[in-house]
Symmetry: C2
Amino acid sequence: MSQDKSIVVIGCGASGGTAAQFARKTERKAKITVFEKGKYPQYSKCGLPYAVSGIIPDLNDLIEFSEEWFKKAGIDLFLKTIVEKIDPDKQIVIAKRNKSIIKKSYDSLIISTGANPFIPPIEGLSENNNLVEGVFSVRTIEDVENISYKLKKGKNAIIVGAGLIGLEMAENLIKKGLKIIIIEVLPQILYNTLDEDMAKLLYSTFSEKVDIILNHLVTRIERKNGKINQVFYKNKESGEEKKIKTDILIIATGCKSEVSLAKNAGCEIGKTGGIKVNEKCETNIKNIYAVGDCTEYFDFITKKPLTIGLGSIGVRQGIAAGTNAAGGAYQLPNGVLQTRTSEFFNMEIAAVGPTINNFDETDIVSGKFNGFSLPKYFPGGRPITIKVTANKKTGKIISAQAIGENAAQRINTFATAILGEMTIDDFRKLETAYAPPIAPTLDAVTLVCDIISKKINRK
Amino acid sequence: MSQDKSIVVIGCGASGGTAAQFARKTERKAKITVFEKGKYPQYSKCGLPYAVSGIIPDLNDLIEFSEEWFKKAGIDLFLKTIVEKIDPDKQIVIAKRNKSIIKKSYDSLIISTGANPFIPPIEGLSENNNLVEGVFSVRTIEDVENISYKLKKGKNAIIVGAGLIGLEMAENLIKKGLKIIIIEVLPQILYNTLDEDMAKLLYSTFSEKVDIILNHLVTRIERKNGKINQVFYKNKESGEEKKIKTDILIIATGCKSEVSLAKNAGCEIGKTGGIKVNEKCETNIKNIYAVGDCTEYFDFITKKPLTIGLGSIGVRQGIAAGTNAAGGAYQLPNGVLQTRTSEFFNMEIAAVGPTINNFDETDIVSGKFNGFSLPKYFPGGRPITIKVTANKKTGKIISAQAIGENAAQRINTFATAILGEMTIDDFRKLETAYAPPIAPTLDAVTLVCDIISKKINRK
């Protein structure tokens, strides 16, 4: 083939941007085009809550790869450009920019259309498909611009949803001097991140700073002079309804994949609503890849389908799709580990693997250990609690969760163990690094496994 | 057997003490006796340098398990008691306390006689087998008591040896206001800990605070009024000799295993001078185990014999020997990983696996990456440099070294990968935990492996 390969990427979020970059790394001569409907090039969505408080001082700081960067890399980036159609037979993408139509043929296409905030069915929340004044989602730089503008006036905020984004927003709004109430329909915070017992540990710290109302459903809002004024919420069990005044309302109830383009092109949509992809990020349509929050892959342990919701996974899919689309070979592991972390009020949390709600209790065995980051005799140690769960039959590690000092790095050792399909009995003999100012002789990561090992061998 | 099992442990260091504890955990009814020649029960040798500076305020803080603790655990601990002989045929240990003789029969014996400081052949260093006034080793609480007493008078200190203990002592003596010179015979610092290129990174920070003289051999010392006064050292290549005045001299040139009791009992001594043990910590003599710095085991990667010199390994041997001696079953991995760490002037270093000096250059492939602990847009990130080496043929990870933020925890992920015999290509796809205040989307631990993967696939 004398002509250089044409690779088209739809969406310049973390996954799409990464895909374009790795396509370039793989094939110096490829013609690479990225269409992005928004006005910003690749930026960090995960950083948005920290721009609300000013920890990240400028929204422009969130831009990880600038237009200039893409230009230097020889990647044609079209901002404010909406792709209207994919023609998989002719291998053409049709996009619109202002009023002009762009037709671009591709040898490989990478769909990275992301996800939209899931807006729960709360009465009065939107008007003409727009959220009413004082109601915000947290997904884009524009969202944060809107919220920040509003903060100058508001004093009270209600957040719907106690997932990672909801809690991150809570902490950052508190730093701005707001009073926060979180309303969560489930009986625990961080339902998808931590088991209930671990979530409770964080809850006890968190609820000192923020009112968290669990088990309650927000039913409707009432406006005054067009702006939000009151929020009505009811007890999920008793049905009792209460109301509360607020200046702003933040919707942090998750996302749903944006798949309309892919669906129209014939891409198979999975049960969870994402575009089905394999370990190479291929869809069912020839030469079409998909990456990031718009896709469905599956869990490494349960092999159950899930929509991708973590930037870390999206970026890795971007590496795979970009490399493969450009003629390289990159295969992701047989499922995602879902390694995840965050930090609240100086308390680090992290986890890997599914929460125990995903398993039959009789198939698994868990252990929990309260340790310390340093030997007891060395000053400055901080607590660390680790919970680990293993398959009772095989002894293989299936999940780990940690709260406290260096939780994320400690969870990375478990992520490694899960990826390597190690058993509790192998892992608990791990020689961890020891020095008095750094870590104890026996770290909590292996001590917790001793507990589980005993339980397994006792059965 | 109607009578309860008798387990005798010789030496109450970290390894011996741990062995006694795990014997008790394994068999509630066993009769457990520990003989310790010193006056202190189990304490942290690794904490000693930090007691010199006062970071650990009281030497007694180093005691991890008190006499009372052992009493409560039902373990008979005899301090200031010297074991004079082991009779492996009659299964009896003969010990001496003050002037009384204690004969103790055993069903299982655990030898944990530790190691003695290696005193290099420096002329004038000792008199009647004792170090002369102003010269110290760093191995026991008594050593630190002696050093601390001397610090009130001294202003200058020379340290012989730029290994972990030498450097740790240097930093802690600086904190006490002393001026330090380190003299090292080898061409790099931390020869057994880091590859030369990694050691250089630390050297450049370290040498801003401490004079480090590499490639020089201390030949003799000169005393004045009985006390140390001058140190003579010569260039290893040119032979040129220089001298320097000092108030104290610290010997930090490593240890040699104390094996005389074991040897006399017929235990096989390995090439490296330690008691040969297997994965159960058994010696060649029936019912005799050995643990800690007095033993020789082997490296996980090279399978070459080595004497144990890390507390973290000794403690794990203690777990194995104590469990096995009491009738349980505990098998260590097939070699030691040598995971190790320390911190100097707020710079954390860590490593796992042998340094590259242990390999033929054509068999291995290395990569190095300078990363950052946080995404670039998030304030507070700190640098981290990671070097990883893999087997060129199999792609398996054989060593990793890190300098910078959370070096030790990052190295623990590599320790897990080595223990799980993972390849570079598996490990580099690891989903590490990502959140802006915690870690970047792609951590240095996997980015360094991308570099190596390319090198391997290019070959």
